[in-house]
Subunit: 68 residues, 6 copies
Amino acid sequence: MRISARNRLKGKIVEVKKGQTTAHVRIDVNGIIVTAAITNDAVDELGLKVGQEAYAVIKASDVMVGLD
Amino acid sequence: MRISARNRLKGKIVEVKKGQTTAHVRIDVNGIIVTAAITNDAVDELGLKVGQEAYAVIKASDVMVGLD
Amino acid sequence: MRISARNRLKGKIVEVKKGQTTAHVRIDVNGIIVTAAITNDAVDELGLKVGQEAYAVIKASDVMVGLD
Amino acid sequence: MRISARNRLKGKIVEVKKGQTTAHVRIDVNGIIVTAAITNDAVDELGLKVGQEAYAVIKASDVMVGLD
Amino acid sequence: MRISARNRLKGKIVEVKKGQTTAHVRIDVNGIIVTAAITNDAVDELGLKVGQEAYAVIKASDVMVGLD
Amino acid sequence: MRISARNRLKGKIVEVKKGQTTAHVRIDVNGIIVTAAITNDAVDELGLKVGQEAYAVIKASDVMVGLD
């Protein structure tokens, strides 16, 4: 599927941690760790595992801007 | 302010485009362009300009995972 | 791309309305109209047009439940 | 309450699964299953149960568009 | 409609500003101004006007925590 | 960090409840309780505790408007 979300950051999964309903998946994008909170069901359906290539996908309206 | 959002990607602003109410700000994070859709008011209050160092800030629950 | 978002509702695009930065795309999903607010850039990149088959894609954490 | 969210999909609850803090509620909307991740507290306050008529409510800015 | 969103802050509308597709509505909640970015369509459907009593409604998963 | 999010509601933390991956933090803002669902990791990193002064931070595009 091609998706309208503007941000698709390619990396490698470095951690998959499931809770009771919500899982945390960490993706290493060029040395930056991006954390995704998704459903356990999504982890199972996609078969997400440490070491896989994956994208962190983020809709532009969910990105804020910060300054030091 | 220290913020709970898990993802803070440091980069440099490469584009600021204002609409009537919503602006698009593009940040170059190590060669990856991240697009943020924020209010014009936020652009004005923070004084966002091309060339500034800035962070793309994203709550973990707004990050999805994609596979090729 | 396969995506972790739990909700992918298949339908047909019935309206594409661009603003200055934000567009509204309406998809008819079995007679229910679903409205998406996405960037103009996404509309252009995907070449979204009335009559196309398309999916409304929604992360589970963005869905609320209402009762009459 | 009348709400600004553009998308209110009427259906019937087919599953309520509570975790420690986050619950997953599945609503059958004309044969399409929509998954909502909401707080356990919301499930309790609204008394959500399998078989109830309910709406999946989604803000337009949280809807993406996908193409095959 | 009763809604699962945990946060419903009662106040009075103090500004309604429409763009081409996206409007900004400001609600005074006990002296704190809360800004909502919603569709123009929602403003029209609800007939939102300065001076009306209204709620700012926010899903718990969209709230972050900040410290000074 | 200065952040683009339009809504920063100052209050005091009155409850921190951790699940397996997702925590609920409640902040009393002038007598209104605001609930945030954030990661356990964020609670730990910020050292969030009952009694602390804290902000509920919300992006404008995540705020809806409701009418009675």
